[in-house]
């Protein structure tokens, strides 16, 4: 099976996020970037499929942040091909609607059987990349996937997660795009020495892509951090009073269903 994985760089939430001078966007210059967590799972799922059924794994990432390191790490983990998409602006990532055609442009000639992308990136506001990509490629799509098995050469058995550890199993015709929430097992650890070795042996294929026009349908008027919640709000009173306050609170939050 020929599998492609799309990986994205997202701001590291460990570091404080700042809003830029326009007040409408993140200040990317002060942020640190990490591999999007669900993309890491998508890669792991791809590697597991390859190990089980053979085939190849190609990893694609748009030139931004520290995508090189993530690509090398992917190579160290066992990706066969790593491709960096150059879109002319290494200082930001395109929004999903704009990014999807760029990935599609690279993917079409590659002709993968399966494209795995993390179902979510926390900095996405107005689009979900794997879904955009599926529509762009005209392929079937299921998101919130946790676990993929190859059924036969033409389709996959895919588990989609529902609350309470319930899974819905779907048969998905190939080629398809899947939005991965989690791989069957946590992403593997890749020791630094292997990443170093990959930096020496693997090479990143750079590919220039056409940039589609950005259509802003959702306009950000203001971006701001939520008011910080300091220590817990203390509930006082007799046990009965506190109990009814908590019960009311839970009801208010829709937790008493």
């Amino acid at each position: 099976m020929k599998i492609a994985v799309v990986i994205r760089q997202v701001p590291d939430l460990i570091e404080p996020l700042e809003v830029d001078s326009t007040g409408k966007a993140l200040d990317l210059s002060s942020a640190a970037f990490v591999l999007n967590e669900s993309d890491d799972h998508a890669l792991e799922q791809a590697l597991l499929l390859k190990e089980k059924h053979g085939g190849s794994v190609t990893v694609l990432g748009i030139d931004f942040g520290d995508v090189d390191s993530s690509l090398y790490a992917a190579a160290a983990k066992g990706a066969d091909q790593i491709i960096k998409l150059l879109w002319g602006d290494p200082n930001r990532t395109p929004p999903p609607q704009q990014a999807a055609p760029m990935y599609a442009e690279v993917l079409r000639p590659l002709g993968p059987d399966l494209v795995l992308v993390g179902v979510q990136a926390h900095d996405e506001l107005d689009g979900v990349l794997p879904a955009e990509l599926a529509v762009c490629l005209g392929w079937p799509y299921v998101g919130v996937v946790r676990g993929v098995q190859a059924a036969n050469g033409k389709s996959l058995l895919v588990c989609k997660e529902f609350p309470g550890a319930v899974m819905a199993q779907f048969e998905v015709r190939l080629p398809a795009v899947l939005g991965i929430l989690g791989a069957e097992q946590p992403p593997r650890y890749v020791p630094v020495s292997r990443i170093r070795a990959a930096m020496k042996t693997a090479s990143i294929a750079e590919q220039q892509v056409a940039v589609p026009p950005e259509a802003v349908r959702v306009e950000v008027a203001r971006l701001y951090p939520p008011a910080p919640t300091e220590r817990a709000e203390m509930l006082t009173g007799s046990p009965e009073e506190v109990a009814s306050r908590i019960a009311a609170l839970l009801e208010e939050k829709g937790l008493l269903r």
């Binding site: 460990i14 640190a32 790490a73 160290a76 983990k77 946590p186 650890y189 890749v190 630094v192 020495s193």
Partner: protein, 831 residues
């Protein structure tokens, strides 16, 4: 002419011939065995820092190794903590050595010196002394074996329990019984021989009282030696055919011993005996033999002769058996252990040698020295006794680990182990599942090799490797100098290389890769705990300072340690010294990263730290963390295995992955540090904070304003401060100055008991199936001391582990856990 040793008494010439023919056979077998066994070591890799063996030994000897070796190898000095065992082993060892040398000297004396050159050294007083010494050492040997027997049969310590996996069928070799039998048969032979002498002497006395024989008629017979087994027929009832001029005892004496002397000599001996001298002139110098001789003398002469010959053979064959057994049984430690103690590396114990950066996957990936170490194990099990993991139900016993590896080594044919091509480094982890069997396919095509168990998995399972806290208690106590933690870490490195790490450890390692701390916190928050407390935080890269304070992860990020860290900061400022930090550029020093087996990450962290240190202006470095202390002091070397710094560019590129703050540009501007004077730590002392507290209280910089006489405390020696770096006294002096009453726990100083955090264990999940955690065990130990209120520690990880343990044991109200800096602050700044 003085008397000499009666030679080969009662040993027929054929027997003697057979005996001497056996010697070369035995020697060949022994040498062949030793070569067989030593060749096993040669499948290993070169030992870093050794080079040519001859020059290595030369270097060791020049550094005083010989004296140490005499102490540790010849006199088993490493057994000193166990006087019973030391006595036992010295007795057995020296008993055997003296008896063997004595036998050898006697043999040479007789069959080379005397036979060929008619010159004999063992005569007169020297001979008597020789007999006395040998007799005494025979007793010594028996006492030693008795001690050993008492321990094995009566005391039965668990550590001596039989190995679960026999190395070979020789494992069950009845070693002690053999030694006992050799000694006992030796004495019996002697006793039986002396008893024969007593018989002859009685005859002499008889002839003297009955019938005077002119001394002149003492003509030596020309008759051939009577074969020993025929002689008894005539004894006791002298036949009338015998010439009256020659008493029977003379005939007998001549038959049994005389042929070894020339006529002149024979004459002299017979005369001496005739005049009432003993047949065996040293008989009374061999007290055990003499007593046995007296015991046996009532037996008939022929009986004595038969038994003597029989036992002589048994004794000889047992001795041969023992010698032959040496290369094939654990008696081989007679050779391997002294060799190992001789060739031990001279590096600081805190400096981990890394011969196989990607880990030990197969036996041959160990160095030859490691294989030699493993092969010198005597199965004494002391390591198991002191192992915190073993005591708490972890799956690891260092003894079993060594035995398992040694067993595999002995079963592996050298040719196959060597011939197998070393695994080519695979480009990725592809092909082997991350959690799957990673031992690599059996590279050797030979079926014999494939029938051998794999080193990983079958021989040593991963959970055993992860159970090690690297506390070094095992290594420290090992009488023969085996470095178990090193071997375990080498094998861990292979697991890490294959991506086989537990989830929690993986998270810690990912955090360390990305943020340089195991907590997954922002590097910018490293000094936050001090800043929030309003303490001055100077950037040592911008302001010159006296001390660069290397915080370490726990002191910086763990909220439970923060109070201690703040106390230390206050003490620094009271002592009036300027302190600076590497700020967000400080990375975990890597001590435990290295011991977890992530060598690449260790190098990356070390290089980033060195790079930051190069930018700092300080006179010395201080840390409260013994783990950081150890690696900074012993492992941040200019060029241990390739110079640190060569990977700075890579490190920077990697760090960029997590957005840590080293930019690639900055990294590339820094040239790799290759020479000593460019090296950032050159000329800088590295201190543990407790050393400075000791110093500053002593010189009055930190005056004690209130002595804490109301406190009864005990002190826990952190492994990486104590056993690794020998810092035992400074904390105790500090406590003495504070005026507290210090009660020592039974396990203190080099016997300290690990809290269970070391070697990266603090990052891993609890071992399944344990019955108690090491830290809890230690808390129980502290609680046994009457009136102890505080457990004083000098390690941030200890603080975390023990604070947790007092909670889980449920004694928070009885025992407080405090860092020594917190106590000092109470005394220096009483309000």
């Amino acid at each position: 002419m003085t008397f000499t040793r009666p030679l080969m008494w009662n040993v027929p010439a054929t027997a003697e011939l057979i005996f001497y023919l056996l010697i070369p056979v035995v020697l060949v077998v022994i040498i062949w065995g030793i070569v067989w066994r030593i060749r096993k070591w040669t499948i290993g890799q070169p030992e870093p820092g050794v080079g040519s063996l001859a020059s290595y030994v030369g270097r060791l000897l020049r550094s005083g190794r010989l004296a140490e070796w005499i102490r540790t190898a010849l006199f088993q000095g490493r057994l000193r903590p166990d006087p019973f065992a030391l006595t036992m082993h010295l007795a057995i060892f020296w008993g055997m050595v003296v008896l063997f040398l004595g036998t050898a000297v006697a043999t040479i004396d007789q069959d080379i010196a005397h036979l060929l050159f008619h010159w004999q050294i063992l005569r007169g007083k020297l001979y008597q002394g020789f007999e006395l010494v040998l007799d005494l050492f025979g007793v010594v040997l028996l006492v030693g074996v008795g001690f050993a027997g008492y321990r094995r049969l009566v005391q039965r310590p668990a550590r001596l329990a039989a190995p679960t996996r026999p190395v070979s069928f020789w494992d069950s070799f009845p070693f002690l019984r053999l030694l006992a039998l050799i000694a006992i048969t030796g004495f019996l032979v002697e006793g039986l021989r002396l008893a024969q002498g007593f018989h002859l002497e009685a005859q002499v006395r008889q002839t003297q009282t009955g019938q005077q024989t002119p001394s002149g008629s003492l003509t030596p017979t020309q008759s051939p030696a009577v074969p020993g087994h025929q002689a008894p027929a005539n004894l006791g009832s002298p036949s009338p055919e015998q010439p009256i001029s020659k008493p029977i005892w003379q005939t007998q004496w001549l038959a049994l011993a005389g042929e070894h002397w020339d006529q002149q000599h024979q004459q002299a001996e017979l005369e001496r005996i005739q005049q009432g001298g003993p047949v065996f002139p040293a008989a009374s110098w061999a007290p055990v033999g003499w007593l046995l001789g007296k015991l046996f003398q009532n037996a008939s002469f022929p009986t004595l002769q038969t038994w003597h010959q029989l036992l002589w053979w048994i004794h000889a064959l047992l001795a041969f058996l023992f010698m032959i057994a040496i290369p094939w049984t654990k008696a081989f430690h007679l050779i391997s252990s002294p060799l190992n103690l001789l060739l031990r590396a001279n590096r600081p114990v805190g400096q981990l040698p890394v011969a196989a950066p990607s880990g030990v996957a197969k036996l041959r990936d160990f160095t030859w020295q490691q294989l030699m170490q493993i092969d010198s194990c005597t199965w004494c099990g002391r390591c198991q006794d002191v192992c915190p993991g073993y005591q708490c139900g972890f799956p690891l016993s260092p003894k079993e680990f060594v035995q398992a590896v040694d067993g595999l080594l002995l079963r592996s044919p050298v040719r196959l182990a060597k011939a197998a091509v070393p695994q080519a480094p695979s480009p990725g982890l592809s092909g082997s599942g991350p959690k799957g069997d990673s031992t690599g396919g059996s590279a050797s095509p030979a079926s014999k090799a494939s029938s051998l168990p794999d080193l990983h998995g079958q021989t040593v399972s991963a959970d055993k490797l992860w159970a090690c806290c690297t506390c070094r208690a095992c290594e420290d106590i090992c009488p023969v100098g085996i470095e178990q933690p090193r071997a375990i870490i080498d094998m861990r490195r292979h697991l890490v290389d294959q991506g086989q790490v537990d989830e929690n450890l993986q998270e810690a390692l990912m955090n360390l890769q990305r943020y340089g701390n195991s907590f997954g916190q922002s590097p910018r928050k490293r000094t936050e705990g001090l800043q929030k407390a309003g303490l001055p935080v100077k950037d040592a890269r911008k302001h010159p300072v006296e001390f660069l304070w290397f915080l370490g992860d726990y002191a910086a990020y763990d909220p439970r340690v923060l109070e201690a860290t703040q106390a230390m900061a206050r003490l620094f400022s009271m002592a009036g010294v300027s302190v600076g930090f590497l700020m967000d550029k400080e990375q975990n020093a890597g001590n435990d990263v290295r011991r977890v087996g992530e060598e690449g990450l260790f190098e990356m962290l070390r290089d980033k730290n060195l790079q930051a240190l190069a930018a700092a202006q300080c006179q010395a470095i201080v840390t409260t963390d013994p783990h950081s202390y150890n690696t900074l002091k012993n492992e941040y070397l200019p060029s241990p295995n390739g110079s640190p710094g060569e990977n700075i560019a890579d490190a920077a590129a990697l760090s960029a992955d997590g957005g840590s703050c080293v930019s690639t540009d900055a990294a590339l501007q820094t040239k790799p540090t290759s020479t000593d004077d460019q090296y950032p730590l050159a000329g800088k002392s590295i201190f543990h904070a407790v050393e400075l507290l000791d110093r500053w209280i002593a010189d009055g910089r930190l005056p004690i304003r209130r002595r804490l006489e109301h406190l009864t405390v005990t002190y826990h020696d952190p492994c990486y401060l104590g056993r690794y770096n020998g810092i035992y006294d400074p904390p105790r002096r500090v406590l003495a100055w504070l005026g507290v009453r210090l009660l020592e726990m039974p396990r203190n100083r080099e016997n300290s008991f690990c809290c269970g955090a070391g070697g990266g264990r603090i990052w891993m999940k609890d071992m399944p199936g344990i019955h108690v955690r090491p830290a809890e065990k230690r808390i129980h130990e502290a609680l046994q001391l009457p009136g102890v209120q505080v457990l004083v520690v000098a390690c941030p990880k200890d603080l975390v582990m023990f604070q947790d343990a007092v909670k889980t044991v449920g004694v928070e109200d009885r025992l407080k856990v405090l860092d020594i800096s917190q106590l000092v602050l109470q005394a220096v700044n009483p309000e």
